[in-house]
């Protein structure tokens, strides 16, 4: 019998171990697959429970909203509307073309006594439809930057402002160039001493110069599927209360009253 040479012996051992490893690898592969499937199923189960929770809370909110609209809940009967000097509404762009819903919302706000409203959608569809909205909702005038805040408050009719993504980051870049001109004219004073070169009021003035000034809203209502401000101008949202109202198609008068009531009960420390 031919003696087994070392390479042949090594080859035989390797084959034997490979015969053992292959089923082991297959086993681990299938265990891994089954584990991933079970994890995925668990994930879907958890999300089904979440959907059920959302559905239930949606029903409760709808019922509460209905009761508020009917005036059956006493605490919502008296609202301190004067606390809201300026209200902003963020509308999801996919719903921004629903001008009838927008007009109905504005009519509710006008009936409540809100004097200044800013309408925002990030693609600027509301800006494009502003003539239609102003024509159909004849209780409003267009906001002009030249208005001072106290003149704004004295307006008998509602002032409407239309804002888009163009008035956010892009406006800050345009305002930065206004400040750059001032900086160059002043010879770059303060640049080497580590001092602050520009103040917040200078920035606000620069934003007004480029046509994107406007007061900071007290309350911002988001009509969309998620609580996200979608790029509302950052400079104007520092201490603004943000409330999510759900999709525009599901808006109700009762939920609007509830949001405003909640705002009137909030107390801000402004960092103190």
């Amino acid at each position: 019998m031919k003696s087994l040479t070392p390479p042949l012996l090594r080859c035989l051992c390797l084959n034997r171990s490979m015969d053992f490893i292959r089923p082991k690898r297959m086993l681990y592969f299938w265990i891994d697959k089954i584990r991933n499937v079970l994890l995925r199923l668990s994930w879907h189960l958890v999300h089904s429970i979440i959907n059920l929770c959302y559905f239930t809370t949606g029903m409760v909110h709808a019922l509460e909203s209905h009761l508020i609209s009917r005036g059956l809940l006493r605490k919502y009967k008296s609202l301190h509307i004067s606390k809201i000097r300026y209200l902003a509404i963020v509308i999801e762009s996919e719903d921004a073309c629903r001008t009838s819903n927008v007009i109905e919302l504005l009519q509710w706000l006008a009936a409540l006594g809100i004097k200044h409203v800013s309408l925002y959608d990030n693609e600027g569809l509301l800006k494009k439809s502003k003539d239609i909205i102003l024509e159909k909702f004849d209780g409003a005038v267009l906001f002009q930057d030249t208005h001072e805040n106290n003149v704004l408050l004295d307006q008998p009719r509602m002032t409407l402002e239309f804002v888009s993504f163009y008035d956010g980051k892009e406006a800050v870049a345009r305002a930065a160039n206004v400040l750059l001109m001032k900086y160059i004219k002043s010879g770059g004073i303060g640049s080497n001493q580590g001092e602050q070169i520009f103040t917040e009021s200078q920035m606000s003035e620069a934003l007004k110069t480029v046509g994107s000034g406007g007061p900071e809203p007290d309350l911002l209502l988001i009509y969309g599927p998620a609580r996200c401000h979608l790029g509302f101008p950052a400079w104007r949202m520092r201490y603004t209360e943000i409330q999510h109202m759900g999709p525009l198609t599901c808006m109700t008068y009762g939920s609007l009253i509830k949001a405003i009531y909640r705002f009137t009960t909030v107390r801000q420390n402004y960092g103190k």
Binding site: H47, N122, G231
Partner: protein
């Protein structure tokens, strides 16, 4: 001495960390996280840590102990985010507006921040944690500023988890700072070469964004505010265009793993919408 500190006055030590990573609660937590990871996980979570003083008042603790409890809660959150696979965490530790508070409270918070710097330096060696401080650090004391800068330098190469602590920060100050830096940059370009192209002297959006304090990290996917309030208080207003804003009623020291799980589940529920919005806003920005 607060009940949160051990006999030597230290906020936390290796025993506490060891307890976090062992035991049946740790196993249960890891199982929950395995299930969560079957879906999309947010890359960046930001937190407004509101409610420390209310917590101390409710528990009848010494003044300032609420902030100690808040620091512990942040440490626990870092561990949870590390296990869940969240790469970036940003915490709103101290606003420029907070300097208006009682000087003793401000000093207490600054002392806690200094202690946290040393604690994070130890942790960064174990968990490859990168620490970044975002804000107007010139308003801090020289010692704290120096310690913060040293920690940033020492951890610059770490990459497992990036913690950004917003201290002496407001978004309006961040925007102003970015514009100031852009103005200095453009003035230098104009000074170097008078024959430079006209557009080189124009500040563009990309110039402002690169000078933001938060330029080192991507935009947040979720901003969580504890304490039941629904405002951003001048935090990450610029970076939160496509960000899920989550308000939790619980005060910050009581924020736990289940709250984080809930927030992530909520994010996953709306993930498709946010992914679509991010693409839409990028397209708007490009043109």
């Amino acid at each position: 001495m607060s009940f949160l500190r051990n006999k030597t006055g230290m906020l936390i030590n290796e025993d506490v960390l060891g307890r976090l990573f062992s035991g049946w609660t740790s196993m249960l937590r890891k199982c929950m996280f395995r299930v969560l990871r079957a879906g999309p996980i947010p890359r960046h979570v930001a937190i407004i840590m509101d409610g420390n003083r209310r917590y101390a008042k409710r528990k009848r603790l010494q003044e300032g102990t609420g902030h100690d409890a808040g620091a512990m809660a942040l440490l626990y959150l870092l561990v949870y985010c590390y296990e869940l696979g969240i790469k970036y965490v940003t915490a709103y530790a101290f606003s420029i507006d907070n300097f208006k508070r009682n000087p003793e409270e401000v000093q207490k918070i600054m002392d806690l921040m200094m202690e946290s710097v040393f604690l994070l330096a130890r942790l960064s060696k174990i968990y490859s944690l990168r620490v970044h401080f975002a804000g107007n650090l010139q308003l801090l004391s020289a010692d704290l500023r120096k310690a913060a800068k040293k920690l940033m330098e020492n951890t610059a190469d770490n990459s497992n988890l990036v913690l950004t602590i917003c201290v002496s920060y407001t978004c309006s100050d961040e925007i102003l700072h970015a514009i100031e830096e852009s103005c200095k940059e453009k003035t230098k370009i104009a000074g170097r070469d008078d024959r430079g192209q006209g557009t080189d002297r124009v500040i563009k959006l990309v110039d402002i964004e690169k000078h933001m304090y938060m330029a080192v990290v991507p935009d947040p996917d979720i901003i969580i505010r504890t304490g039941g309030e629904w405002r951003l208080s001048n935090f990450l207003l610029w970076q939160s265009c496509c960000c899920h804003l989550s308000s939790i009623f619980t005060v910050w020291p009581e924020f736990g793993v289940l709250h984080l799980v809930w927030v992530v589940l909520d994010f996953q529920h709306k993930y498709t919408y946010f992914a679509r919005k991010k693409n839409a806003i990028v397209d708007l920005g490009n043109g």
